[in-house]
Symmetry: C2
Subunit: 463 residues, 2 copies
């Protein structure tokens, strides 16, 4: 039952069956597929998307719906009959419903919330009350809670009664009379113990909890470090208000990293897959930053104009401008990617800035020296082979190239490393200090460093 092999198979089968328009046949065919295969079918056959969802049992419809792309979800909600929409929304797990509603305009959210039954509406409204990017938005209130003085047998009976609604029964939460979290116990502990023992004999008071206001990125770290499939979420009074399951965190991690990658490349985050977004939208997401960078880069023309006299006297200097400035840009991009990554996974915090600065100054000197030596040698060697190109003062020119490289590279590592930290300090996303952004900053300064070095070395000879 390889996924790839089947993929072709069920698409073809589907086309046969859908052309028949036999409702029962469609229902039966869909019922025999995995949820992820149904989702693939829906996304590959957008014309039939709503029909497919409507043909599923409401439970399977909800499971499929929650893993679809946002644009397909919107289409389905738009096309589905109101009664079916209500059933579907009520069946969706609270956390998935919240993340879908988050993406819609306020007006549409208000309409859809009306379709929910009283209880689901209350849950959704409360989840929507937490900050975007907070653990509160990620949690589900569907968990099983028990009390310390229950026996294992009572717990198992309780699970049989309410387990169907719970998002996970892999971990059971122990609370006190005030609803405060006392402990979490894995279901295996209950299964491996005699039925007459008390819950309190299994608790050890060692649990890890998240706060509703915690950042989702932090939840990712806590899951990584603690080997759990679900974590309890408490409010500031330690009252258990929900749980977060690890599969939701995996989605968040994937999405955050995708956004970071896009920002680091100098694009606004695309909200749709690359091949599905319209060219016009793709253009809009890209052009903004490009214009900003272009405006910044125009300063190089201004800077160079003020050194035009130097260029007029020693035209040979112009040959190395791209080499010098791009070396600064490259080291700057390197440094910024390293620091953005370290900030993202929490290896570097704002308090480490001086530590980072020290390391980047040393790195800049080392890297600059290596490139400086190569640059110096390049000019000297070329001058031996083609004596006409650089003229008599080739050693001086080589020195200008070598020394400016050290300066420009050091400026690159410092700017590249400090900018993400500064942005984070200001509350912005450090990933915005993309490679292109740092490169542009360093280009302008590179021109200035280069020509000042030239004046220093060539004054009285060539300038």
């Amino acid at each position: 039952m390889s996924l790839a092999a089947n993929n072709l198979g069920f698409q073809e089968q589907f086309e046969l069956i859908i052309s028949d328009e036999d409702e029962m046949n469609i229902h039966e065919f869909l019922n025999n597929l995995n949820i992820s295969d149904v989702a693939t079918l829906v996304e590959d056959n957008e014309d039939h998307a709503t029909k497919i969802i409507a043909s599923l049992s409401v439970h399977r419809a909800a499971s499929t719906f929650k893993i679809l792309e946002l644009n397909v979800q919107k289409q389905i909600i738009h096309e589905l009959q109101p009664l079916k929409t209500a059933a579907l929304l009520n069946e969706l797990p609270a956390d998935d419903r919240t993340s879908f509603l988050e993406e819609l305009p306020t007006e549409a959210v208000r309409e859809l919330i009306k379709l929910l039954n009283h209880e689901e509406r209350k849950i959704t409204l409360s989840l929507l009350g937490y900050d975007e990017g907070s653990v509160g938005r990620l949690m589900t209130p569907d968990y099983i809670a028990v009390q310390s003085d229950w026996t294992i047998a009572e717990v198992l009976e309780h699970i049989r009664e309410v387990g169907k609604d719970s998002e996970t029964i892999d971990v059971i939460y122990v609370i006190n009379d005030n609803g405060q979290l006392v402990d979490d116990v894995r279901i295996r502990e209950f299964l491996l113990s005699p039925p007459e023992r008390l819950v309190s004999e299994l608790t050890d008071g060692r649990y890890i909890e998240l706060n509703v206001n915690d950042d989702q990125e932090m939840a990712n770290q806590v899951f990584k470090m603690n080997n759990r499939v679900a974590l309890p979420v408490v409010d500031n009074n330690n009252i258990l208000v929900g749980i977060v399951t690890i599969d939701d965190v995996l989605w968040v991690a994937n999405e955050e990293f995708s956004e970071d990658m896009q920002k680091m490349g100098g694009t606004e985050a695309l909200e749709e897959p690359y091949l599905e977004i319209s060219i016009l939208k793709l253009f809009k997401k890209r052009v903004g930053w490009l214009i900003v960078l272009f405006m910044g880069e125009m300063l190089t023309a201004t800077a160079m104009a003020s050194y035009e006299m130097a260029l007029d006297k020693a035209l040979v200097l112009s040959l190395f401008i791209p080499l010098i400035i791009s070396s600064g840009g490259n080291t700057g991009s390197q440094a910024s990617s390293l620091i953005i990554q370290a900030l993202t996974v929490g290896e570097v915090t704002l308090e480490d800035w001086w530590n980072v600065m020290r390391r980047e100054i040393v790195s800049g000197i080392l890297l600059g020296t290596v490139l400086g030596i190569i640059g110096f040698s390049r000019v000297v060697i070329w001058a031996q082979i083609f004596p006409d190109v650089y003229g008599a003062h080739y050693v001086l020119i080589a020195s200008v190239v070598g020394i400016s490289l050290i300066g420009v590279v050091m400026f690159g590592t410092i700017t590249g490393s400090m900018l993400p930290i500064l942005l984070k300090k200001l509350g912005a996303d450090p990933a915005v200090s993309s490679a292109p952004f740092v490169a542009t900053l360093v280009d302008v300064t590179g021109v200035i460093i280069y020509f000042n070095c030239a004046y220093l070395f060539l004054k009285g000879t060539m300038l």
Copy 2:
């Protein structure tokens, strides 16, 4: 019990207790901490790392050990007594042991494998036999398998007997007499059913499996789409050989994205946290790519030398070189980040290359036209304000700038988007086509495009 608040607390307590050197006290204190807190202690007190691990029960020692940073793990294995090392290694879950051993030199691995007992050694050697980055390296053989003709009561009894060794009992696997996978059933299904029912009544034959040779990145996608905490792993004969748990996939996802980010910035992947890696190692990881890029960028000096005559006649052309080439670099970085990200999450596959190419040609024309118009206007407006700078032929110069921008930007989007696809096609990691790499490629071509445009427009007037 907020994590942050406690952090300060237990570090201070630890310092008090460790200075006493009372073994029992240390043991008791550590026993009352969460595993993740113990891990924090170990990493914050590297001098005492081995002592802390040695003071824990072997089970807790293993749980702590597996979430430590690699360098601390190495230190502990180096310092621990051989007997304790053997106990620790034997207790580690097979998948975590494999990923630790993977990072060590072959010589050390051979020594450590000798310490394992017969059974664990067999498991580890077989796991090490799969390709790096494959699902085989990620799986654990600790799962519970049952047969279709068992009753629920028999299954629960079996779980009580062997459950202690299993990495997860949240999902139980149903196999046939040949060891082939028949179905997976969540533990909740067993708990919610009467004890006398047969396993076969719970199976529906709908399961998702991974192949041992599948890519770990693919496992991430399958987990995302299927809402499972564990997935069965089969060989090519559909025989169940292990399971992969979602928490291991979360680690892989975090690590892969970190590596991708570093590569996209033009660094080799760091294997240690930024602040802990020695400056020398950091230098080594960065300098290689920088030298390659520098060598590439030297071609700009060569290219420009061949246009020196043109520069001599129309020095004003030199002013716009940084602006032109960096615009190509920026659009190229943008395109490459977008495509790398889309390839990583599977939104774009190799077969889509022509689709991508078409979109990037259109995007390149649109983006290039916008920047071209801005560039053209910049020159014309400046010429009105400062008539001396660009001379009488300023409209021609503005046209050269505008038209070359369209060409360079289009070259940037095409190169930036096709390079990751080409690298993937060749079996390399597309993330290597980092922003700096694309920028360098485009810089050299940018110089050539620019000067050829200049010849076209200025022949007979300025050139």
